[in-house]
């Protein structure tokens, strides 16, 4: 019998290694796997490369991981926000490296990783500073920039419901990067608010099929986490 449901956050993250590339779902607070990130802080892996759209908000989640000094490099599209002071301070002090990536490239580079694509030509950023030094090509009269996939060692996904085969559904716009990063990492860990028996999810509506998911861990729904402090 295959059972991908593990009993605790700690168990789900036990083998994350120093130097790992960790893909983290979420856009602002929506879809941010805060319980898994707290677990990664407790687990203590260091020298991490973190991939997320943002650079953490306030003092929780990614911001707390940054503050704990576990992040060597951040790959993201929009680090600057009203409450991104933890990242701002570390970046200005030269304590964290930033690779700034247009948001569509961030998504597509991880999609490409999950789909086995070696590289792709893309029109975004052509002629801008973010394409400096990159190979370009004119295809059918239009300029493109060569972009390479972003593979993860680990992906941390916040989903809504899961089953023991790792099938997942999401809630509203908290889906965002979840299905993309699930396919792009060697080990995808999904936190869910509830688990169901096999067959309990409508197969027409499974968003991430279990082939992309290695571990599922149930967390308690905390109202505060869906409220503004997490946004």
């Amino acid at each position: 019998m295959i059972n991908k449901i593990v009993n605790s956050i700690a168990e789900s993250l036990a083998d994350v290694k120093d130097g790992a590339t960790v893909l983290v779902g979420g856009f602002g607070g929506a879809g941010m796997p805060n319980e898994l990130i707290d677990g990664l802080i407790a687990q203590g892996a260091r020298d991490l490369t973190i991939v997320n759209n943002n650079a953490g908000n306030g003092e929780i989640g990614l911001a707390a991981l940054l503050k704990a000094g576990q992040v060597r490099k951040l790959i993201c599209s929009f680090p600057r926000q009203a409450d991104s002071h933890v990242f701002d301070g570390l970046y200005r002090a030269g304590k964290v490296e930033l690779e700034l990536v247009p948001q569509g490239n961030l998504a597509e580079r991880m999609r490409a990783a999950g789909a086995g694509i070696g590289a792709f030509f893309c029109p975004t950023a052509y002629g801008t500073d973010l394409a400096k030094g990159k190979e370009t090509r004119i295809i059918n009269g239009k300029p493109y920039v060569l972009e390479f996939p972003i593979h993860g060692d680990v992906a941390l996904v916040k989903a809504e419901v899961g089953d023991r085969w790792g099938n997942l559904t999401y809630r509203k716009a908290a889906r965002n990067f979840g299905p993309v990063i699930a396919a792009a990492a060697k080990c995808t860990i999904a936190q869910v608010y509830s688990t169901v028996e096999l067959g309990g999810l409508d197969p027409e509506n499974i968003i991430t099929p279990g082939i992309y998911v290695q571990r599922v861990v149930k967390v308690a729904r905390s109202d505060t986490k869906t409220l503004k402090e997490a946004a």
């Binding site: 602002g28 200005r92 597509e108 908290a174």
Partner: protein
């Protein structure tokens, strides 16, 4: 000359700039029913408040929403349902959720009819600079701006005509880092609506009382009537 004009103190302007809401309302006039539209964060977000209620227009949000509706009533916020600016929104009946790679395929694949973006500068060739001032101590952030700039069929820019220190944001060449090359279709400002054409800037309309000569002088570059 009318008494009204004669009575004005010397140097007084015969025109009043459009308010931010008036610029947004002007943009909304150019969005047809059935259009798939992405409104950038900041000033462009205001356009949503001016879309005519009788028209069905599909708002796209980069974080995976089509058919985005207005802000919820106080107390009804759902933080799993936010817009690109991370503010709570609603979903219209018929709306849909999808993941990020699909959302950006909608942009980059040319499926969006219009995007509305803010800008620091727009050049005569339609180059757009809106993501970074280039200041060495500034933390750069690009988000989805470069994807929208190359992907939407029409890129509308909404901005103040002049900087706070009175310099024109219309330039021969952008001095700020570029967001996209030759991407802008039309610019809406507090003074005028201006098309980017192969022959340069073409004025579609101006605020009441503005002359082409005065607008040209403020803009600092040649303007023609569209």
């Amino acid at each position: 000359m009318s008494a009204d004009v004669l009575n004005k103190p010397q140097g007084a302007k015969a025109w009043k700039p459009r308010s931010r809401d008036a610029i947004a309302a002007r943009v909304a006039l150019d969005i047809p029913e059935g259009a798939y539209v992405n409104l950038g964060i900041g000033l462009p977000t205001l356009v949503a408040n001016h879309l005519p209620p009788g028209k069905e227009i599909f708002l796209h949000s980069e974080n995976g929403i089509l058919g985005m509706g207005p802000a919820p009533a106080k107390g009804e916020e759902d933080w799993d349902l936010i817009n690109a600016g991370k503010q709570p929104v609603t979903l219209l009946a018929g709306g849909a959720y999808f993941h990020h790679a699909d959302s950006f395929a909608m942009m980059r694949g040319g499926h969006l009819d219009i995007c509305v973006l803010g800008a620091f500068q727009v050049s005569e060739k339609g180059d757009l600079a809106n993501w970074h001032t280039g200041a060495p101590d500034a933390i750069p952030a690009v988000g989805g701006a470069m994807d929208l700039a190359v992907g939407a069929k029409k890129v509308f820019v909404m901005m103040e005509h002049l900087t706070k220190s009175g310099e024109s944001k219309f330039v021969a060449e952008c001095s700020y880092p570029l967001t996209g090359v030759g991407v802008v279709s039309r610019v809406y400002t507090d003074l005028a609506t201006i098309d980017i054409t192969p022959g340069g800037f073409a004025v579609v309309d101006m605020v009441e009382g503005m002359s082409l000569a005065e607008l040209t002088s403020l803009t600092g570059l040649p303007l023609k009537k569209a």
